[in-house]
Symmetry: C3
Subunit: 115 residues, 3 copies
Amino acid sequence: MSIKRHNPSDILSKAVEANGFVFLAGIVAGDTSGGVKAQTKDVVDQIDKLLAQCGTDKSKIVQAQIWVPDIKLRGEMNEIWKAWNGGKDLPARACVEAKLADPKMLVEIMVTAAK
Amino acid sequence: MSIKRHNPSDILSKAVEANGFVFLAGIVAGDTSGGVKAQTKDVVDQIDKLLAQCGTDKSKIVQAQIWVPDIKLRGEMNEIWKAWNGGKDLPARACVEAKLADPKMLVEIMVTAAK
Amino acid sequence: MSIKRHNPSDILSKAVEANGFVFLAGIVAGDTSGGVKAQTKDVVDQIDKLLAQCGTDKSKIVQAQIWVPDIKLRGEMNEIWKAWNGGKDLPARACVEAKLADPKMLVEIMVTAAK
């Protein structure tokens, strides 16, 4: 069994590979000046890049958790979510309301993929 | 490695099989007119059916996350939870408070099972 | 496929082994009289013991979820988190705000490890 860790900060790794799975950290927008749609696009772009780094892609995501600081943002987030996955290879998913690390952050997404 | 997805909506799959695990979506009651006990029973019944569809069952659940929109509902939810699993084959579990997609939803449960 | 469950209560197992992974329950401090730093230390000590019981250790944690009842507690929690893992072998992680089972609980941590 070997574990491979990618893009460490001082508190977390952005991605961890182990036993045929890739675990991504909760990803928030790099640029939090925009609304929830812009931030969701920023997040899924980062997820695409991290999954590619780990040798997998969005078609292999098995589970996703999404947090929004106001559940009313769910609809707009979902518009970008649906544009991103195009209705294909959809993961098991839960989306609930939670305050995030910074009040400017309007969405956080954490996924697990197979590889 | 093959991934099998079940019961897709426009945003998620209700269940995803990969690498010896079954990942279920966060399940909410189909009928949200009842209290938290009725809704929890509705949810665990759905979980039983989804796990059966994936060739596994509640005795193989390894992890569960539970969200209730008011943490005071935890006690009543637990009554149904305990009746359901009968104190056997208990998963690792976390239960925290979070607003869900609709204010009528009083419980959401997401489980991962082995198969 | 075999599943091994450890330290069951009436509602959950503190740890579950399956398919090369160890799933821990959301762990809260045994002693909730202290502040968030003392409670985080209490939690990571319990995590160390549970992982050891399952034949693995913190260097193999792949994913972590952390809940604090006030997101402002995140900084103090992180101090203990960083002292614990020493910047090495960092898991994918998400930390959001959520009310926990008891208002005295100031942190809950749920981890998944490989073994």
